[in-house]
Symmetry: D2
Subunit: 359 residues, 4 copies
């Protein structure tokens, strides 16, 4: 068993890590870090609202019993000598200082965006760009670290990049235009989206989101060559909106390919690709990365987000585009707090183990 | 005053006509038609649920007092000799038989899609394609009618066509890709969208909607020439979804123009165009057809749908597109049951008066 | 294994029965009945929308594979000779004719209200009034049936009756005033609650619901004596409302007891009672019938409805009432489509087996 | 015209005051106070989000043009010599220090709870307890103030107290049990209710709310005698919950009266009472304080909250209670941010003018 710490353990993403790692066959959470305010208390106590006594636990799954009494420390007090891996679940500002300090000695898998765009930092999605892992050698060399930082992509990028992988491979890609209808949980709870703002409403702007998706998609689908990643050379444009949905980002994608892409061929390409991780032996990997549905009323976030434990991207409405040459359009749903966050990060860590970078 | 009948008066769109025409300076509702079931009763009684006694009135505005005691008849019993105009608010299947019969002697302005795609039927949006009204002469000649049929476009088309008008005029258009986030009221109440299906959810498919928008947009923005309308020659592709919003369709638009279209120039084109109807003397015309907002968090359907009494299209987030050459993207909100339905139809009727086709 | 039929199998409650019985250790679904329209097709086909091809399956759990190919017949064509039990999931009107015909030869456990108020029909909730089962002997004698009818209570009654059981036993009850905030799924899908009516809204009336709850609660908590049930002699008054929640009825209860009932004693009484079914060996029985939560922000329908697989009633906010002598008030959440419908009916059938009335 | 200041002008309640006072025939807003952060800027600028430039204006009505350029000052810098009245819209903690300082020289009408329970402070609702205004003389004498403080009740108390007034007068009251289903806007925006917490959910607890309603209702309906208010001697008990509704508190009331109260008599008593303010000449007074609806599906918050400009309490479902002797039950809807907040406070100020305490 590898010994694992969660940094930012009391936040909502930290809690999702706690759940994603409960009973994991390879990883055992042995240390928890959070802010000064929580430090010094057992995890179960640190989660309590001091005013009302309510447990501020935000996952549908229960608080893992094995963590209830684990003491929370500040990140400075982590016992690094007894750790094999750190998952960080903190805001980007905080990550910028904290993650390099950890990476000096330890592997860090992060949900923060702080290092995503650095040239020597891979943005891994297992099954999509496993070979980018080799960039870690460059990273270590550049920075003189014994550990490394691997961030996961923005939760809106993940489903898009996964579904574009088989399109790129089979048809080539020229341009991608995407409109997202994103879930509330993507905004967190501090304070996240206020109910007064979203009831009977849509919010057409999520600060910084579109730039992230546009940039990350091309990096993820780029080519590792000579110690660097060459971004994929298709164009990406997004409009990101917020809708009144708890979990599960919906994305309406229009794609122009290089070669003709009749809808049946697109569906077949996605289905052929879907099993890419099935044999990889990664405990969190879904049996199908993509599930293609023929029912035109699917995918729907409430009905499809939990497919394969929230780790599959569900696609539907594949049809020819009427405005792009070699065009196809489709709708996808991806679980933003499972494959798009903590569980996705755990899957990345599993790939690192398999690739020999961990353990 | 022109004497007006509402056909389908007890339905939700019929009620919206009742409200839109209350106190109208040019039109007076003198007759009401509905199904066999309602016929023979005063309007106020015909709206009552026989089982519970509840008034099935679905507008926020009150039932106009002047209509409460007006008797409801079947369409066959309308007194055509004392009518100058009929507004029809029925399903398309019903419209297909009913509207031609009425049009033999009377002008018909319709919210149904039945005749929208006939070559001799104009799809009018005042301020957008006023000259298409001349097609009515062809229609009358072709069909031997004293009256005519003018349908209004699908409610999702309306806001799109209005905002594309200034783009087409100033920059030329090559292609348009649009994803809609449509309100519940667009689906009506028979039964419309069931709450169980949309709470915490998005429905990614609206039967027939995308084809309508793609076809209507090009017809509306086409050119009237030699007794026919030449569809505009740009390409249109849509994905239409339903979200948990009462009223107000939100649309995320990506457009590729012929000539460069920097965002400021697009905003200026829209603002320059906005006043097109301000001087036309049409009572229902908004002072601005388009309201461009600089706040990146706007437009939002709940906050913007009622702008200028629901008759304006509100646009925001105008920015350069990163995937299309000469590309621009923006978000619009248009009130689907006001400008997009009954009030929009009344505005069309007002244009018909001004153009000499009515009264 | 007892051989079981589901009548009304294609409806939403019928589907919930299919899920509740999947893999059941005692009951095996061997026959399915539905309307003429569905008859003659395998279950998986009968559920398909003929127009769009969508599977009209409304449970979060998947359609049990073992039922996919089971043919659907009309109720007249059930092979009664090879059945041990029938679960009926039909509207009350239909049940009134159909259930007696079945009960001539077969035990019937029903979610319909048709026979709930007959003097010789028990309203069973396992753990609450097991001894009422003896009324079945009277019912059989009265009606000359080899089988019998056991309806389950209205879904709003269930949680109330369960939580009142320990109050009645320990403190005596004088009066109960309850306001419900009921979930959408209680209204079904034909058409159920329209989204336009409940978004940003509360509906303060559910036809017939209050009378049902008031009457059923007293019957359930009444005493079986001399072949009849003497309703409990406390008073019950309800106001039943609908709120925008998918599943899980919330009820705010005010109760006046005979003897003093300090909140801690009430909590203790409920906790002492909770394990009543834990040892009964009924496969669907929850380990705790009632879960009392100390967190004042609980119970919440979304967070608590699935406690113990939807079979527990979750109680919170137990506090002294300030307007009733010997008063207590609390809030409960009960899963209306699990304990309050199909799963609750399966639990009743399990009790019938244990009591020797079945199998 | 009386010269008026709004303290807390940039907050949501302060904005509602700005709207409620726009174009008021008696009151003119001449000064605005807010926190240090906003001071020194024109109102229109102080409302802008410094990061995104968005206008943080939360009312459906537009920002009154006449206030856009009015400078915002801190409360210490108000020019008291040129004011006749102050409306305060601040949190209770802040009000505790701030309001007495203002009241030394100026009349203060407040939405804060800080002074509601002081024996020499009246809780006025025009039409309900106008004579309590005489307590202001005691207050001034006690405290040596030239001004005074008049708080308005909690928004949940208002509708309850208004509907109980005619019941108390005509039938006497013994006890009242009420369950509220409160709107989101009652929780404000700092951060108010997070969408993740209320979507598909009910929150069964609002800190401190029940105690406020129980206490305030009895004070409001108490008797002014010998310089003090004797609380009404009936009992009140509440359970206050939050539901996913923007505006408009719904309350399910059970009341036990002293004398028999058949539902028709209750409806008549409310209707007879409704016009109490119609002749009073108060500009904000609704023509009917209570609107009784016969439709059993009403009142509904979305449909009824804006009745008489949000100043009426809408009542329905009046029926005999089945658990209380001389019992009646009904449902009410009251607009929590109009009659229950700023507009209600303006109405109180109007009563103060009419009573000679102001101007």
């Amino acid at each position: 068993m590898l010994r694992v710490a969660i940094v930012g353990a009391t936040g909502i993403v930290g809690q999702q890590f706690a759940v994603a790692l409960a009973g994991h066959p390879w990883f055992q959470v042995t240390q928890l870090a959070a802010s000064e305010r929580s430090a010094g208390r057992p995890y179960g106590e640190a989660l309590r609202d001091p005013r009302t006594g309510s447990l501020r636990w935000y996952c549908a799954e229960p608080l893992p019993e094995s963590l209830r009494d684990l003491p929370v420390v500040t990140v400075e007090h982590l016992d690094r000598a007894h750790l094999d891996l750190v998952f960080t679940a903190v805001e980007s500002d905080e990550a910028r200082a904290l993650e390099p300090a950890l990476a000096e000695t330890l592997p860090v898998v992060s949900t923060a965006s702080a290092f995503r765009y650095e040239p020597d930092v891979p943005l891994l999605i297992p099954g999509v760009n496993n070979d980018h892992v080799r960039l870690l050698e460059v990273q270590r060399r550049n920075r003189g670290w014994r550990g490394f930082i691997v961030p996961i992509p923005n939760c809106t990028t993940t489903g898009l990049a996964i579904t574009l992988r088989p399109l790129l491979d089979r048809f080539g890609l020229q341009r991608v235009l995407m409109t997202s209808l994103q879930a509330l949980s993507g905004a967190g709870r501090s304070p996240g989206v206020i109910a007064l703002d979203i009831l009977d409403n849509v919010i057409p702007y999520i600060v910084g989101e579109e730039e992230k998706v546009e940039r990350e998609t091309r990096k993820i689908l780029g080519q590792y060559r000579d110690g660097a990643i060459q971004p994929a050379d298709f164009l990406v444009s997004c409009t990101c909106t917020r809708v009144n949905v708890l979990d599960g980002h919906t994305e309406a994608v229009f794609a122009q390919t290089v070669r003709p892409c009749p809808p049946e061929a697109v569906a077949r390409a996605m289905r052929d690709y879907a099993g890419v991780l099935a044999e990889a032996g990664l405990p969190s990997a879904p049996p199908e990365m993509i599930v293609v549905r023929d029912d035109p009323f699917r995918p729907q976030p409430r009905l499809d987000r939990d497919t394969h434990n929230g780790m599959a991207t569900v696609v539907g409405r594949i049809r020819a585009d009427t405005a792009l040459e070699n065009g196809v359009k489709y709708v996808l749903v991806s679980h933003n707090t499972k494959m798009g966050a903590a569980r996705g990060a755990v899957l990345v860590a599993e790939l690192l183990v398999k690739s020999g970078y961990l353990g």
